[in-house]
Amino acid sequence: MVSGALGKIYRDGEVIIHQGNAGESMYVVQSGRVEVVLQSENGGERHLAFLEAGNFFGEMSVFEKEVRSATVRAAGEARVLKIDKKTLLRRIREDPLLAVNLLKTMSHRIRVLNSELAQHRGAQ
């Protein structure tokens, strides 16, 4: 991976955001792949998704003052760019269409979660 390229390089397994920690930034994968996992109180974890170049994560903490809802770590070497809350919100104020862009992805994620929930309930 090119060291002169944009963002920060995370080694395989290195954690980018920790579930339960406070956070004010969103992240966009520039290259490689990251894994989103949900950690349970008994120390177990559940795989939620893999994200690739162009995908974003950590957006929930930008829009609500809540702690990170999942842990995201590099799956193989990954390069990830941090987006400041201030920069993002300033731009959304000028160009609300950017928020529509993010909303579309977030709504797609809710749809996927809903269908997983339905499958889970059906299996019980």
Binding site: K8, V28, L48, L51, K82, R91
Partner: protein, 469 residues
Amino acid sequence: MGLSSETSVADAFAGLGTGDASEFELRDGSRIAVVGGGPAGSFFSYFLLKMADAIDLEIEVDIYEPRSFKYCGPAGCNHCGGIVSESLVQILSAEGIVLPDTVVQRGVESYVVHMDVGDVAIESPVHEQRIAALYRGNGPREGGDTPLESFDDFLQGMATKRGARVVRQLITGVDWQEGLPQLQFASHSARSYDLVAVAAGVNSNFIKLLDDHPAGFEPPKTTRGYICEFRSTEEEILNILGSSVHVFLLDIPRFEFAAIIPKGPFATVVMVGDDLDEELVHAFLNDPVVRRTFPTNTVPCVCSCKPLINLGARKRPYGDRIVLVGDSGVTRLYKDGIGAAFRTGKAAATAAVFHGVSGEDFEQHFWPACKSIANDNAVGRIMFATNAIMKNSRITRRAMLTMAQKEQARADARPHMSSLLWNMFTGSAPYTEMFRGTFHPGFIGNLILSLGSALVPRQKNANVKNSEV
């Protein structure tokens, strides 16, 4: 989870903007011409087609651009320092636009400020490479053997993937026929369009042709900049400059500011000053502070130019069926011109797709984006004037240096001066925000203390090193 935002603009707006149809609304089959395929033209075309697609509007977009950005040297280059600002890199990412490694020649993580009284390295507040150093064309004149890709070509590719057609022709004039703008070509043929977006920059005669236009455009004020590319090996350039952009605050008459930017085996020197001429360029390159940072006598200059910089807003960058984006219209003062091309290009595209292409539509839905840049530039002028005063006095130079050095040395210090210098040089924040920061009691207090210590004779001030970074 995991859908790219790139695929998804404005779907929620589908169906909007189709209330009472007006003659100035874009319809299926509408034809749009874009004069100039630099950043402003490509961003405008990309967003226009993306948003039109989201509301199932079928339009034709022709980008007129005589240049091929695949050439090395001036033939393929829209002469510029090639810094994509921290804020633009972030916003592009949030838009789903990731700059490829082949386009980014170096990710920048710090700026080193050089003065005769010493140097200070200012690290990125997030310790991450979020500024891109790149080439607009296919690199300098002698760069044919280096594996790099042009930024302007990458942006144009985004627009063509969305369906824009690139026509390699120079536009020689614009006329009005039955209420429609008509572009004229060197071959004396002409073609009418429903909308013409002028994205021809300021380094072209085309914008002068618009001076007589009934909409009463007034061309922007300009000044000349100087760019020179030095070539060595990648290792050597890394050795000398690291991953930092080097900026210079020097007390040379007529000198405004200059930067040296590492890009693979090349280093770009960019300079701005009043009545910039050979004498000023020589005075800068031979200044001892520049020599100790970058010995230009040991690396050859392989490409140079003196392009125009837009210094002020056009009075009215729109009319019925015509809109001026990027440098041809309104841009940011001295910094982040590519960011301004993005902002004005997208604002014009949004206005055209969701509202219409009359002068009134652009006034209401495009001009606010330009006005916010123009108003911010007014504050920027005050900032640059203050900077000029401060850099001309050794005492204030030393105070700035001491304050920034102390902040950089302590992880828990609030980086008042560092943030100001970082934002001023990187163009990452609006000038208004930087200006507000200078009224912070911490900034004022620390500056007064630093001024005090700068007034103390040098021997007593032994704890502040004239460090070379």
